[in-house]
């Protein structure tokens, strides 16, 4: 990996970087769409590329089950299997073991789980996870971590943090011995729950191994914790992580979360949210999400968002037709998925441009004013951005501020 910081925001911790991997250059900060099963839901890889996206994510746990490593090896890796010529990141599978299987038991050796095929006890070790990720062949691979829910408290959190550090060592060793470390880049995952002490210890340990890892992820967050704690954890980690390594915040996808993370110094984020919500008929816009299933859109001949360059809006697809087809026709899901991925890419592209131009604080203010101006600013966003020198309320003394997580949804016709 070649990683080069091109520009830094004069006020916040945001930065623009160029990351060169085996399958090309990706400009950061960026949002990574999730192709869990080796396909962005409903789209072809050519369609994804046309959207200006060149780094996507596959899930190791899923690909290991189906199609299986043997098939991927025959195909010459996951890139070739799915026809994706650009950069690819795989997670380690640890998160799915915990989120999808009730029976997973973590031991020092690895994660013991019941095979979803025959129920047989199966062990996923750090070495095994890396080996699977080698077969998949992603440009960025993740260490196996001991994931605990962000709502967990007590000694289990510390235990998981230390185990994650030990597993990192095993992943590093296995990866280096394999000789694949020249093409595939291993990222460490900072754990430690919501406890600043533990995060700090974990950061120290992992930064000590900086010569052996290509980048760092911030894990164990966005699992239902309070947003006010979430941003503090991100900030703590991003502040301490070395400047010359990309920082990846796992499972982040709401627009406001993305921009706060970028301002705190995060370079990469992934989430199924924009593609999943598209299948339920929700389109993302600069004025907030739009639930296209609501009757009020049935005769609306406007596109999702005026001026949006995505294939859906630029083809003249109306809200009315999306209302007619959303959740009933797969092609409606495709159309909204294309739009939502472009929305995510535009937010991040706009951030890159503003950081380079030295206008990122204004960009943040403008975005939040559009997105939350009517409904009220989430208090945690105001706090988080103040911590890096941007006051969203500066010129808006009358702006409403909402406590809690402040997500804004169009649930029903009454809304």
């Amino acid at each position: 990996m070649q990683f080069e910081v091109l520009a830094k925001c004069h006020t916040t911790r945001a930065r623009v970087s160029r990351m060169r991997l085996a399958h090309g250059v990706t400009m950061l900060p960026t949002f990574m769409p999730v192709a869990t099963q080796a396909a962005i839901k409903g789209l072809t890889p050519q369609q994804v590329e046309a959207l200006g996206v060149n780094l996507i994510l596959n899930n190791t746990y899923h690909l290991n089950l189906r199609p299986g490593i043997e098939v991927l090896k025959q195909a010459g890796g996951a890139h070739k299997f799915q026809g994706w010529n650009h950069n690819l990141l795989t997670d380690s599978g640890g998160f799915q073991l915990v989120s999808l299987s009730k029976f997973t038991k973590i031991t020092e050796e690895g994660a013991l789980f019941a095979s979803p095929f025959d129920g047989e006890p199966t062990m996923l070790t750090p070495e095994e996870s890396i080996s699977i990720q080698h077969a998949i062949g992603a440009d960025i691979i993740m260490q196996l971590d001991d994931v605990v829910s962000s709502l967990t408290v007590g000694p289990r959190v510390e235990e998981a943090m230390w185990r994650t550090v030990r597993w990192l060592d095993r992943c590093i060793e296995f990866h280096q011995k394999s000789g694949k470390d020249t093409v595939q880049n291993l990222f460490a995952i900072v754990q430690g729950g919501l406890e600043p002490d533990l995060r700090d210890k974990c950061l120290d340990e992992m930064i000590a191994r900086r010569d052996k890892v290509a980048g760092y992820a911030i894990g164990g967050l966005s699992g239902g914790e309070e947003k006010d704690i979430f941003w503090r954890m991100i900030k703590q980690c991003a502040d301490k992580l070395p400047d010359d390594r990309p920082r990846y915040s796992m499972g982040i996808g709401f627009a406001e979360d993305l921009l706060v993370c970028v301002a705190l110094g995060v370079d990469m984020a992934d989430c199924v949210f924009p593609t999943r919500t598209a299948r339920f008929g929700v389109a993302l816009t600069s004025k907030g999400p739009l639930n296209l299933r609501l009757g009020k859109h049935a005769k609306d001949m406007r596109p999702i968002e005026e001026g949006c360059p995505c294939p859906t809006c630029s083809s003249g697809m109306t809200r009315a037709l999306l209302n007619h087809t959303a959740t009933l026709e797969t092609a409606a899901a495709h159309a909204i998925t294309q739009h939502n991925l472009v929305f995510q890419a535009r937010i991040m592209g706009g951030a890159r441009e503003a950081i380079i131009d030295g206008t990122f604080p204004q960009y943040l203010k403008q975005f939040f004013a559009n997105y939350f101006g009517d409904a009220g600013y989430p208090e945690w966003c105001v706090n988080a951005l103040r911590s890096v020198g941007v006051d969203l309320l500066e010129d808006r003394p009358d702006a409403k501020v909402i406590s809690g997580d402040g997500a804004k949804w169009e649930y029903s016709d009454a809304a």
């Binding site: 160029r18 199609p67 360059p309 294939p311």
Partner: protein, 565 residues
């Protein structure tokens, strides 16, 4: 009300073997609004749509698929709003505008009912037809249909007709009523309102040839079409229309209700229990055979006998390419709907057949190692691959053995100029190209794409990948399969045209090729039964019981609903 649709549709066809021989022809659509005049060679493919969309295809993929040129648009799904959304669009091409089709390339045929949906419906009335939408059954009366057509300005429009979607058999009385109504409705549709002198007679109307499976009823309907118009009916029907037939551009044959009635006839005469009266599924075990094709051809001829040969003949919902070939041979049909191929994509089948059929003696089957479809016990080949089947788990070949993919064809013809061993499948699954451009979201994004060339041919998507997508319930599987199947189906029709162009001997050659096709490919379609079963298994394994029964009914009778979102 604004003026009537102004498209004029002309068809010129020729057959070397008389009125009912196989024929090629050309459709000419002149919208008289400045858009290019569109020509299509026949027999041609009519792509089916659902709720206004080609199932599983986003707009960019519709435009990538050259096989998509004629689109059949059932209006009924839009009855969920009043006034229906397409009537609110306005402009010169409201349907193209609303649905994202290109006036320069796409021809839209508007019809009230989805011809592939054979579900039981409440009876029609003396002046209305029942249509189906998400909010239930809606009545559409004659005036409303006239207005919808005028507001939507389709390139072709199908007049309302009274086809019973109640369980067969239908009584003599019902058939007589059906004919009376259909004639009266057509006359009404063709009539220009005296209140609107600026309106012109539509020249783009298609009519269903009514009469069910009674040859005498079918002749009766056709004769009524060709009778001189009585004085009392004349107002509003301007010269040179001497007969109603003068006012129509072509005829439509819906095979689904005919197949259903024929099947009911057989089970009745054999004393079997009547078919499930709840469902008349297109895909539900409607299979073609020599016998049914012969019966259908006789019925069609009964309709066409009193009528001139110079009008377009459209068939909806054929069940196999064998049936299409026989109807081309024995009746001379010009436009064929793609439901069959599109439904195959719903249930995971990648089509793999050609007309004329490949010759076993040539080594072409083995080119670049794409295994041919399975041979059944009688040595006939399947028409495609059921990619749900575990046999494809490790099959890294392109989808079809009888077509090359773009990339291997490019590698096979460096400069030798030697002919390709077989045609190339131009679909996006077999011959994908990287996009012509990518969106840039910031000025520095040029760094990201600097060393990636646009519009380059990519390797084909392979069976193992689509197999994986099907088993993981990924929608992309169906997108790839629809593009592929429509392309293979269009190539099949193009193959028919090719043989028929061979001049005087074309008729004989065509007969021989039809016979060879019948000997080569399995018509019992065992593959379809297997694919439907596996598709349902994967569907059930997913374990979401959401309206499962209703969904199954719906899924089996319409396209595009195969995937749970």
């Amino acid at each position: 009300m604004t003026s009537r649709p102004l498209s004029t549709v002309a068809f010129t066809g020729s057959s070397s073997s008389g009125k009912y021989g196989p024929r090629t022809g050309r459709i000419r659509i002149d919208r008289q609004d400045g858009t290019p005049i569109l020509h299509t060679d026949t027999p041609a493919l009519l792509t089916a749509t659902s709720r206004g969309l080609v199932p599983h295809l986003s707009r960019d993929n519709v435009h990538l698929t050259q096989a998509i040129r004629h689109l059949q648009l059932p209006f009924e799904s839009f009855l969920d709003r009043n006034p229906p959304v397409p009537t609110l669009v306005g402009g010169t091409h409201p349907l193209h505008t609303l649905l994202g089709f290109s006036p320069d390339n796409h021809i839209v045929i508007l019809t009230l009912r989805d011809p592939s949906d054979g579900r039981k419906m409440p009876p029609n009335g003396t002046d209305f037809v029942s249509g189906q939408c998400t909010r239930g059954v809606r009545k559409v009366n004659l005036t409303a249909w006239k207005n919808y057509a005028a507001q939507c300005k389709p390139d072709l429009v199908v007049a309302l007709s009274d086809t019973p979607f109640t369980p067969a058999p239908h009584s003599q009385k019902r058939l007589t009523k059906s004919i009376e109504r259909s004639i009266a409705w057509l006359a009404d549709f063709l009539r220009v309102s005296p209140a609107d002198p600026s309106a012109t007679q539509p020249r783009n109307v298609l009519v269903h040839l009514a009469g069910g499976i009674e040859p005498s009823a079918r002749s009766e309907f056709a004769e009524r079409l060709s009778e001189p118009i009585e004085q009392k009916d004349a107002p509003g029907l301007s010269p040179p229309m001497n007969t109603l037939n003068d006012g129509v551009a072509g005829y439509v044959f819906d095979l689904l209700p005919l197949h259903t009635a024929l099947a009911a006839d057989v089970s009745r005469s054999e004393g079997l229990a009547s078919l499930d009266d709840d469902l008349l599924h297109a895909s539900h075990h409607q299979r073609s055979s020599h016998e049914t094709s012969t019966e259908l051809a006789e019925l069609f001829r009964a309709s066409l006998d009193p009528l001139p040969a110079d009008k377009l003949r459209v068939i909806n919902s054929p069940t196999s390419p064998h049936e299409i070939l026989r109807l081309v041979r024995d009746v001379g049909v010009d436009v064929v709907d793609g439901f069959w191929a599109q439904r195959a994509a719903d249930i995971g089948i990648a089509l793999d057949f050609r007309f004329p059929a490949p010759r076993h003696s040539t080594p072409e089957f083995s080119v670049k190692g794409a295994p041919p479809p399975l041979a059944r016990k009688d040595e006939k080949l399947d028409l495609g691959h059921n990619l749900f089947d575990p046999r494809y788990r490790h099959d890294h070949a392109r989808l079809a053995s009888s077509f090359l993919d773009g990339k291997s064809s490019a590698e096979l013809t460096p400069d030798s100029g030697s002919p390709l061993p077989m045609p190339v499948c131009s679909c996006h699954a077999c011959s994908p190209h990287s996009p012509a451009s990518r969106m840039l979201h910031s000025p520095v994004d040029v760094h990201a794409w600097a060393d990636v060339s646009p519009s380059t041919l990519q390797p084909p998507f392979v069976r193992a990948y689509v197999h994986h997508l099907l088993h993981t319930h990924e929608m992309s599987a169906h997108s790839l399969l629809v593009m592929h199947n429509l392309t293979v189906f269009a190539a099949f029709l193009s193959g028919i045209r090719e043989v028929l162009r061979h001049g005087d001997t074309a008729g004989d050659e065509f007969d021989r090729e039809v016979a060879r096709f019948e000997e080569t490919y399995d018509e019992r379609m065992s593959l379809w039964n297997e694919a439907e079963r596996m598709w349902l298994e994967v569907e059930h394994a997913r374990g979401k019981g959401r309206l499962a029964r209703e969904k199954e009914k719906q899924a089996a009778s319409t396209i595009g609903t195969a995937v749970d979102l």
